[in-house]
Each structure stands twice: as structure tokens, then as C-alpha cells.
């Protein structure tokens, strides 16, 4: 690793700190400005003010705002995340520890589908530009892009688990299997491999298929179009013509030379889309009753559970920051002009 690359990475990592800080601060205050409060949403409107105050004091909501704010920041720094304000008041750490693996287990196959399908069909469309297959791919990508995630999810559910019952409707695993399932990492696929529980593995993968395809497809459209446009430009560039004049096979020119040079804008988008992917995960998790972070966030926003929402958003922000850092490192590997 050259020293310039090291310096670049250190700056890059340090920059994520103010970014996350600004975001969590924003969330902290926005949550408190929103109408509704966690006490009333728990106890209902008929409870007396004294009773409400008792709970408020117990949860520390009666303290001055700046005390709550620094308390929250300290929780973040120590990665403790504090205790939820509602529903059994479980430590948020435990809750996220169970749910984050579920969300990651959903997003990884989804982004893989997006990247592979999007990039390959985009490249294929560019190679066959202005031929019927190109128009077909472009039409499909627009169509998929314009379908809302929950609608696509519902459609899949109706077709593949109601009409033709080949895939499970929702959840992460069959309930029967779940009762005797031993969870270590909370990644069900990994856990079932670790414990050698093959029926559980089969069930876990089966449950992943529909949600991950739904989520993956939703973002594919953008990638198809971006790859196609960049590839068309790349295929007209001089070094491709030069390669052709050297007798390099067309397929190699398209899928090796041009595609590698198209990866920079694609990676940028992939990093940015990851944030959108998490938002999509919220919808997908709701549609498929997937016990992930997304559903947790929706539930807790409704309850005005300040601490839980703050902590979840902070985790999302860290996640996105980590991904975009990873993308920057990947650039350097793909493009020597950045490396040196």
C-alpha cells in the first residue's frame, strides 16, 4: 500500500465521524420535534399526568434536553445504544444484535442480484445496441423500476406461494424448525451450516429467495441503464477500436476491457444505492414479515421510541459509511490512475 493511499484512507475514515455525528444529532432533535411522545403512545391518553410523570422520570425523559443528548452520544461512543423506551424496554443492543444479521442476510443476496443482473444485462444491451434485445432489456428495466417494492413482493407472494405453492410466504424459517433451531450468529444460513442442520438450511434459503429477489430487482433497473450508457460510450472509445484492430475478440473487448473501465461509475452508484437498498429493505421486511432492522425501525417510529430510533438510524448510517469506504478502496484496485 502506498503512503498516499494510506493517507487517503485515514482521511476517509476520519471524515465518516462528523458525517455520522451530524446525522444522529439531526435525528435526535427531529424525533423530539415530531408530534406525539413515547409516554402517551405507551400508556394511552386516559392515564393521569402523575402516572405519566413517574414513567417519564424512570426513563430519564424529564432530564434537560442537553443531558439526554450527551447521554445518547456517550451511549453511541461506547456502542451500548441504551435501553428502548417502549415494549418491555429491552436493551437496544440485544434487539439490533438479533435483527441486524437478518437484514444483512437479506441485503447481501439482494445487492448481488442487483449487481450481477444489472451490470450483465446492461453490458449485453450495450453490445447489442439498437437490436430488439436491447429494446427489450431497456423496457424491462423501466418496468421493474416503476413497480413499487411492496407491490412486486405481493405479486410474487400471490404467484409463488398461493397459486403455485413452491416458496414460503413469509418469515425467515419454518416455525416447526425454528423451535429447535440453535442460533449462534443470527445469520440463519451460517448458523444452520455451522450446526449441520440441513433441513434448517434448506428452509432458510427457501425463505430468502422471494424477499431477496424482490429487493434485488427493485434496484436492477438503475444499474441496467447506467451500465448500458457507460458501456456504449466505452465501446466507442479509442482503445476499444485499437483492440479490435489488434484482433482481440469482440466478447473479450466488451466483457473485459470495456466493462472493467465502466466499473468506476457503477461502483459509485452501487455505494449510493446501498442506502436506498436499506430503505427498500424496510418495505421488503414489512411485506415478507422479515424480522429485520427495517421493521423494527418502522414499529419504533410509530411508538416515538426515541432511543431505539436514534440507535437504529446511527447503525444504518455507520453501515452506509462503511460501504462507501469499501467502494473507495475498491476504486483503487480497479483503476490504477487512482492507486498511484
Amino acid at each position: 500500500m502506498s503512503s498516499s493511499l494510506r493517507r487517503f484512507l485515514i482521511t476517509r475514515i476520519l471524515l465518516t465521524i462528523p458525517m455520522v455525528l451530524i446525522l444522529v444529532t439531526l435525528i435526535f432533535f427531529v424525533m423530539r420535534v415530531l408530534p406525539g411522545d413515547p409516554i402517551r403512545s405507551q400508556l394511552g391518553p386516559r392515564v393521569s399526568e402523575e402516572q405519566a410523570n413517574v414513567l417519564r422520570e424512570r426513563l430519564g425523559l424529564n432530564r434537560p434536553l442537553y443531558v439526554q443528548y450527551f447521554d445518547f452520544l456517550w451511549d453511541m461512543v461506547t456502542l451500548d445504544f441504551g435501553t428502548a423506551l417502549t415494549q418491555g424496554e429491552r436493551p437496544i443492543k440485544d434487539e439490533l444484535g438479533e435483527r441486524l444479521p437478518a437484514t444483512i442476510e437479506l441485503t447481501i443476496p439482494a445487492i448481488t442480484i442487483t449487481a450481477l443482473l444489472g451490470i450483465l444485462s446492461g453490458a449485453f444491451a450495450a453490445k447489442n445496441r439498437k437490436k430488439p434485445i436491447d429494446y427489450a432489456i431497456r423496457l424491462m428495466s423501466i418496468a421493474i423500476y416503476s413497480i413499487p417494492i411492496f407491490f412486486m413482493g405481493l405479486l410474487f407472494q400471490i404467484v409463488f406461494s398461493v397459486r403455485i405453492p413452491i416458496l414460503p410466504l413469509s418469515g425467515r424459517m419454518d416455525t416447526l424448525l425454528l423451535t429447535q433451531f440453535e442460533s449462534i450468529t443470527n445469520f440463519y444460513v451460517i448458523d444452520s451450516i455451522l450446526t449441520g442442520n440441513w433441513p434448517a438450511l434448506k428452509s432458510a434459503i427457501g425463505h430468502l429467495i422471494m424477499p431477496s429477489i424482490t429487493l434485488g430487482l427493485a434496484l436492477t433497473g438503475v444499474f441496467v441503464r447506467l451500465t448500458r450508457v457507460n458501456m456504449i460510450e466505452m465501446l466507442q472509445s479509442d482503445f476499444i477500436t485499437a483492440g479490435r484492430a489488434r484482433g482481440i475478440p469482440e466478447r473479450r473487448l466488451v466483457y473485459k476491457h470495456a466493462l472493467r473501465n465502466t466499473f468506476i461509475p457503477i461502483l459509485t452508484l452501487l455505494g449510493l444505492q446501498f442506502a436506498i437498498l436499506l430503505a427498500g429493505a424496510v418495505l421488503t421486511e414489512t411485506t415478507f414479515s422479515w424480522p429485520g432492522v427495517g421493521r423494527y425501525l418502522v414499529d419504533r417510529i410509530e411508538l416515538r421510541d426515541y432511543t431505539a430510533v436514534q440507535a437504529t438510524i446511527a447503525v444504518f448510517a455507520l453501515f452506509v459509511a462503511a460501504i462507501s469506504l469499501l467502494m473507495d478502496i475498491l476504486y483503487a484496485f480497479i483503476d490504477p490512475r487512482i492507486r498511484y
Binding site: 477500436t241 479490435r244 489488434r246 484482433g247 482481440i248 476491457h257 473501465n261 483503476d335
Partner: protein, 337 residues
């Protein structure tokens, strides 16, 4: 060069581009020969079809362009009859090309050695990587570059070095012809002179033929053996380099030579400017395509197109001044500029 051996014959080659305004005949019935080991200069103004000609020679015309007619006979075989696989083998192994912009004609994500090894292995799949690497190193050294340049990426090399890598990519497969399409145009004058010298050396050392496509007549005078002058998609004159500079026959060649800036030019002397503009090739002029700009145009030039005829040994001219025709009138007509 006593007995000149033929390498390639281009016969009656035509290339058309389909545009919204109609068919553009960028190259129209062009014929010339390329001999083994010669440097042939192909000159003309921008848009005269010389670059199209270079691409057509390798059948690399992309739609909406198309080779509509003609033959390209290379070492006795008409490559117009080749299928895609034969064509791919032909490109790189028989003919190789150097382009105008060295900044963009190499893959930015590939090192120099990767470029050369790929070129070798695409054509000789049985060649091991180590062997290809040895050949690549030899080639790099022959081109006067340091061995460590092998591990460089294109952006780490100067323009001149990149062009040498391009030359090396052609030579490493022992191509018989290298087409240099404005290969020196974007280099500065000193590097340009170096590359020009190197092209001459390469010809000596490898016995390769070079087709130098350029609008730089000074360059062509410096390095070529013969010259083909193109105008508006037609070949106007073909001759050895000395006679054409001593005594240009075609009025267009004459104008072209007169418009070269000369350092000895006295301040009061103005540089010659050819009247008019190159014609729009969707509707080329009738008869000789140069007649609207020709200072010596005759009535016949408007109506009949002259053939490219051999007026003396190895000297071809497409002009009514040197060809007889029953309707030819000797009286020169005035042309509105």
C-alpha cells in the same frame, strides 16, 4: 529497392455512410498498391476519406458506414471474402494500426506488459505467458524503452512512449503492414520527429510496410517512398516522393504543396490559400470532384470524371489535363471562387 514486391492491392474500393441527409460516399472507387517494405504516405485535407480508407483496409468500418464495393487483395487473397474469424486473425497478425491519440488508444486499466502478452496470446493461444513476456521485453527494448516500463500503466507514460507501445503491439506479431492514422499529429514537434525516425528504422529492421495517413505533407516528404493524394474520396495522384514534390501534376497536389508554411517565407509573401471548400459528399460535384476549386478547370471537367491513369512509370494522375478525350477542349474556363 530494385524489384518491388506487391503486398496489397486495393481495387475500386468504395465506402458509404448512411446519414439523415442521404448517402455520403466517403471513399469512391479508390485503387492503389502497397509494396513490401515501403512507406506509403496517404495525404489529403480533413474529410477527404483518408482515415476511412485506413479503417476500410482492415474492414473496420462501423455502421452506419459500409464498404459497398471493391476488393482488398492482401498477399494474394481477397480479404473481402474472409469470415469474422479469419478477419480477426488478419487484424493484428497481418495488419496493425496506430491511432492519432496516444492518450486514449491504450486500455487505462492494463499495464504495458499485459497489453503485449494479450496481443500475442489472442493470436497464438499455445504461447505460454513467460514466453510472451520475454518477447514483450525484447520488443520494448528494441523500441528504446526501459524494461521497467513494462510494468507501467498508460497514464504513467508520455505520449511518445505510448505511441511506441502501439508500434510494438503491431510488431510483436510480425505484422506485414502497419497503418499509422495521424499517429504523430498529437505529439509535439520533437517527439514527432523522433517517432518518424523510429518508423523508418522499424521499416529497415523488420521489413514491414507502413501506410502513413496524415495531412502533414512535410512529414510524408520526410519519411515516405511514395505518396497517394486523396481529395473528396478520390485518389488524385500517385507518385514517388521526389517527382511529386519536384513536379506535382494534379492541380490539387500543386495547391496542397503551395499551402505548406515555409520558415523561409518572406513577410510580404502570403501563404497560398486554395479557393473554396471541400465539397459536401452527400452531393459530390459532377465530373471531376475538384473542378469547382480548380484553377485550371476545363468545360469537360464538369461533365466527365477522368480515370486514374498511369502517365509515366509508377505515376498516376486523375486529371483531364493529362488524358485525351474526344470532347476535350483546351480552352481554360474561369471559375467563380
Amino acid at each position: 529497392m530494385e524489384e518491388k514486391q506487391l503486398l496489397a492491392q486495393i481495387r475500386n474500393l468504395s465506402v458509404e455512410y448512411k446519414t439523415r441527409l442521404g448517402q455520403v460516399s466517403a471513399v469512391d472507387g479508390v485503387s492503389f498498391d502497397i509494396y513490401k517494405g515501403e512507406i506509403l504516405g496517404l495525404v489529403g485535407e480533413s474529410g477527404c476519406g483518408k482515415s476511412t480508407m485506413g479503417k476500410a483496409l482492415m474492414r473496420m468500418i462501423q455502421p452506419p458506414g459500409k464498404i459497398t464495393d471493391g476488393q482488398i487483395i492482401f498477399q494474394g487473397e481477397d480479404i473481402m471474402t474472409y469470415d469474422d474469424n479469419q478477419m480477426r486473425d488478419f487484424r493484428g497478425r497481418k495488419v496493425s494500426m496506430i491511432f492519432q491519440d496516444p492518450m486514449t488508444s491504450l486500455n487505462p486499466t492494463q499495464r504495458v506488459d499485459e497489453h503485449i502478452i494479450e496481443a500475442i496470446q489472442v493470436h497464438e493461444s499455445q504461447t505460454k505467458t513467460e514466453e510472451a513476456l520475454t518477447r514483450a521485453e525484447k520488443m520494448i527494448r528494441k523500441l528504446g524503452m526501459q524494461r521497467r516500463r513494462m510494468n507501467s500503466y498508460p497514464h504513467q507514460l508520455s505520449g511518445g512512449m505510448r505511441q511506441r507501445v502501439m508500434v510494438g503491439l503491431g510488431l510483436v506479431l510480425n505484422a506485414d503492414l502497419i497503418v499509422a492514422d495521424e499517429a504523430t499529429t498529437s505529439l509535439d514537434v520533437i517527439v514527432e520527429a523522433q517517432l518518424a525516425d523510429q518508423l523508418k528504422d522499424i521499416r529497415e529492421e523488420f521489413g514491414v510496410s507502413l501506410l502513413v495517413i496524415t495531412h502533414n505533407i512535410a512529414l510524408v516528404a520526410e519519411i515516405s517512398d511514395r505518396i497517394v493524394v486523396m481529395y473528396a474520396g478520390h485518389v488524385m495522384e500517385i507518385a514517388d516522393v521526389e517527382p511529386i514534390f519536384d513536379n506535382p501534376l494534379h492541380p490539387y497536389t500543386r495547391g496542397l504543396l503551395k499551402s505548406i508554411p515555409n520558415i523561409k517565407l518572406v513577410d510580404t509573401e502570403e501563404l497560398y490559400k486554395m479557393p473554396g471548400e471541400p465539397p459536401n459528399l452527400t452531393h459530390p460535384p459532377s465530373g471531376c470532384r475538384f473542378h469547382p476549386r480548380c484553377p485550371r478547370a476545363m468545360p469537360i471537367c464538369k461533365t466527365y470524371e477522368p480515370d486514374l491513369e498511369e502517365v509515366s512509370s509508377g505515376r498516376f494522375v486523375k486529371c483531364w489535363l493529362y488524358i485525351d478525350h474526344p470532347e476535350k477542349e483546351s480552352e481554360t474556363i474561369k471559375v467563380e471562387a
